[in-house]
Symmetry: D2
Subunit: 360 residues, 4 copies
């Protein structure tokens, strides 16, 4: 029996790993047990956000200094802590042998995997979809999860098309999905999400075609969370669910917000997990993971929003600020993982919300 | 007996008055009864936001075309519809003679007033405070409200220091509160809010000194909402409360959010007004008015936020996006008036929330 | 013989028409002679820039108040005065009968025309190209110019796809050139510029296909200046050149900058026009019109630039700030018309520069 | 006799040290000879620009890996490559013993020094001024320069007040120069520049008072270039000049731009250094260092600019884009060091420009 432990660390800046370093130093965290780190860093979350890469670089250096091979750790740094959101790291550790007296499973389980490099011509297209799907299956196996219903959140970190990629593509006559760097983030997120959906049986393999990617919003995964960045050329996959192969008092569940104001979905989730007042303290909130977006039709609850017309602030930033605050208000905690750009991740304008809690 | 009627109009852009024009045309709104218009326009809400002035210009032209003297209408255009917030106008009409069969008061009441021009040297300082306090008293009298407890929201639209003002001040050797245009908006909002507090007995006259303005956050009004703009040189005051001199089924109440995540305050307000499910439909939501801000100490619920360190997006924009979304999620409606920059308006990091509802 | 007169007015804000109003009042400008107004307003120059519409609205009202039918005046408001650029209006008047003693032509000549509304499906595509080409020919005739070589600058103001347009397109199943509002500005500018090129014989009619618009940068006009905005649904065309049908001491000439640093082109133009020190004052600078852009390959003089990767500031803003300053430094005057987004307007990374001067 | 060598390296991103690493690997650059690195990184150059720290971190790691103690190298990373400016590093190496056959001095000389930590209460105030002045004198001595006239450029990297500093200041009752993080950058730059002026005899010690810092623009150094960042708590000083204690074919000279459009000053400098066509190739351009700013009175050549009123883009970004492009156009090279915020660095609206050239 294995066990997952989860640690959250506040960061005073993208280069502040003080708290994690102290836990490594004190032995509370064992570097060789770290399997995944998901973080929110305080850049713009768009193309030229180097805070993701900065923090990732420092984490790799730190883990290496404590004896862990960074190649064996899945890193998903997501930029953008607009509004009340607070920069932080969530560190997942996997113990090889569970200690005595632990609650029997099913309990929180994690598996990781990565694809090969996605060439510029494949970004936002079918090859990326199927490469991600394959990696999700590998990660599920590692997590000891057979039934897709036991998967509640799949994080994919994926590449984007930089202006350098685009210039090379033009020079070499390579056809790419888009010639706009910011827009390429959406295509990469969209293709990755569809890959998750295919692996989990939410979307049929044969329904995937290039012209439906970032066009046909009826195709979506309700468990995918994908995030693009310039700091990697492959896709990194983290599957999170519940598995009988794991023990402990942590567990995960999820819901899908149907639009940005869908607090009912969140309340439903909290009630089911025993996190509300009425549940008499059956569980404690540990961490939340969510994907959010500006509704692509420019409307919410029948009202026009201005996020897609704003040439000063990208819509992903607006969406993180807005929905991040709503989610923070639901649990009274702004140090949560809320990521923007939910193409094919939940219904248009909505997105998946997963919560890890501790059974009491 | 007089009566206040309230209309909300969606806007497709800052120059879209289609819906109001149609109501004027059809006689549903009588121009001569319009006393105040509060609007949210889709600019950045900061110094170079000309959407406020554009919409205000068009409203004045429209009202004039329908026979109302624009000088007799208080306009408070507030810029910034970040996140889910939806651009719109709220139009307040005051009938001189109430119709038969109307519910007896106390009911929603409004009074308006304006100060003289505030010279650059007075912006953000004591003279502005006392000029606003005087105008609030005048507006209360007009609204037929004697008891400050019956006032629930006071909107002040106030001037800022443009770079032109600042250049003249330097040339003429005039001392001004700040040499930064964006910062001058905060000083002007702060002084105006203190003026409201003085008029409502929340703050003592003798506690007002220049060096406590935008410094001593223990001084605040829980009912002030102040908004700075480059489109006026005086202060425009709108007092909203309940008065026995008015009749009808509309009423107003307010609460104070203690921080950006204080949904409990909003739920308390909704319950008291009969707007929650449990209240068996005793009232219908009509409109919400709120002031929000990034907590000046850089923390919320013990977590760091990044709003004050962000040199790409001003903190007022972050705060509107975040708290605006929370408030929209409470009532399921994003077409609400949420304004940023709550200096001396509610406690630091928090702000006043007022709701108008219709009794059933 | 007709004559063109040119007036420049500084603006203190988008709603400041003080100087033009005074000239109309004093009779220095006759409203009925105004044929075109080109302005730089201080918005972001992108999708949600309402300063263009605000100023245009006020100009129309003002001209109407002085007896000119606004429909007979071509307005080209261009947003974005980044860096040293200074907001202003350039007003073109056309006298019907030239006064005695005027220098014989060829002299500065202007013609205007407009297309019908461009439906969303046509924006950035062949129908827009040919509609603009037709309007250019009409405007040339009005300017009394037969030979395309005598045309030196063609301004086109054209529509964009707002998020409203895009939502309707999706709802109605209409195929549009792009689903991104900001990107639609580029497509509309590009198609308009190709239309100018076709009319002036720079580009062959048969070389225009939808898939070369904003793709094949080898196609360009060296005299087109096109600017997109949300404030109109048709295209407005202003042809400026020299014609024997006009008299006076004003004339225009142009050059093409091959990249953003090509001051040599500007110096060549200044020398040819007699505007340099060495030319012993043969002419006086009156006004400059230019289109600029970030080189689409991300490089300039072999060095990487970051304009296309910047998710905080759109590249059109960067380019206006940079090249606008270079042009201002060439003539010592920052109150010039420099507009961003030079798709098919000059070679990639470069753009046309036209100068009006007065013969001494 | 010592000698300074200068290397420039293009960067593809803030973490790209490929070119420098290769030169270290090949022995073209000896790590132990590196004394200073000045870089332009592609962040916003304001408070939350972490690209400066990211690049600085990587440079320190790299130098250490090649045997140089990073504490002995002065790093001045300046954020902001708006417009055409190109991210790069300038590396200064100092050989201990000059090789044979070198041209005798005076030649390019460099000295470095650092202050102790500047506590928040001292930032932007007299203690910072005098700490910097002392460090400049130390660095001059190290550069073998006695006569201040032989100093042509003094780079100071200095700290800012983060929101964390400000919160602590409030909590501890510490009085600070400003409560706005972005504004604190200006105060720190201003105080540092005055320190340079005091050390070089441009400003009298007794003229320094807190209330003239960032107020009395008649006080300035024509050789100071100061840059604030969150990545250090002390000031780092690099003095660059010509000294007889150094040999080689490199030399430096400087001029002062009186405003943003003052290309005449740059041409004067180029002519004096033998860099113009007319000088028959007496010298080759090596690198340029300049400080630029938006004129604080909001005007340039009598025209209004909008940089100080822009709440979307900070004025330092505008100024770098504009003046950076002008300087790049003068030498045909956009890979130059142009830094924003020239408080007390040159006259208001202007700034110092220094050029290093190689004698032929």
């Amino acid at each position: 029996m294995k066990q997952i432990r989860v640690f959250r660390y506040a960061m005073a800046s993208p280069d502040d790993l003080t708290a994690l370093r102290e836990d490594l130093e004190q032995g509370r965290v064992k570097a060789e047990e770290v399997v995944a780190v998901m973080g929110k860093t305080e850049g713009n979350g768009c193309v030229n956000d180097y805070t993701r890469g900065y923090t990732a670089h420092l984490i790799r250096d730190l883990l290496q200094a404590y004896g862990q091979n960074p190649e064996r750790v899945a890193l998903a740094m997501s930029g953008g802590t607009e509004g009340v959101l607070s920069p932080h790291l969530t560190v997942f550790c996997r113990t090889k042998d569970a200690r005595n007296g632990l609650q029997a499973g099913p309990a929180l389980a994690i598996g990781i995997a990565r694809t090969g490099n996605i060439p510029p011509a494949a970004i936002g297209r079918r090859p990326q979809v199927f490469a991600v799907a394959e990696a999700v299956r590998t990660a599920m196996a590692e997590a000891g999860i057979d039934n897709p219903a036991d998967v509640h959140f799949v994080q994919v970190k994926c590449p984007l098309l930089s202006s350098g990629d685009l210039a090379r593509a033009v020079a070499e006559g390579t056809d790419v999905a888009t010639s706009d760097t910011y827009e390429s983030m959406g295509y990469s997120r969209g293709a990755s999400a569809l890959g998750v959906g295919v692996a989990l049986g939410e979307i049929r393999h044969e329904d995937i075609s290039d012209d439906r990617i970032c066009r046909d919003w009826s195709l979506y995964s309700s468990k995918a969370s994908t995030s693009a960045g310039s700091e990697l050329a492959h896709c990194e996959v983290i599957v999170i669910g519940n598995s009988s192969a794991f023990s402990g008092d942590l567990f995960i569940d999820h819901e899908v917000m149907r639009d940005a104001l869908d607090v009912d979905a969140v309340r439903r989730l909290a009630a089911r997990m025993g996190l509300t007042d009425g549940s008499e303290g059956r569980a404690l909130f540990v961490q939340l993971f969510a994907k959010v977006e500006a509704s692509p039709d420019g409307r919410i609850r029948g009202r026009r929003h201005t996020m897609l017309n704003d040439s000063d602030i990208h819509h992903t930033r607006h969406a993180r600020a807005a929905v991040g605050a709503i989610l923070a208000s639901c649990f009274g905690d702004p140090m949560i993982y809320v990521s923007g750009g939910a193409e094919h991740q939940g219904p248009p304008g909505g997105g998946p919300v997963a919560v890890i809690a501790r059974r009491l």
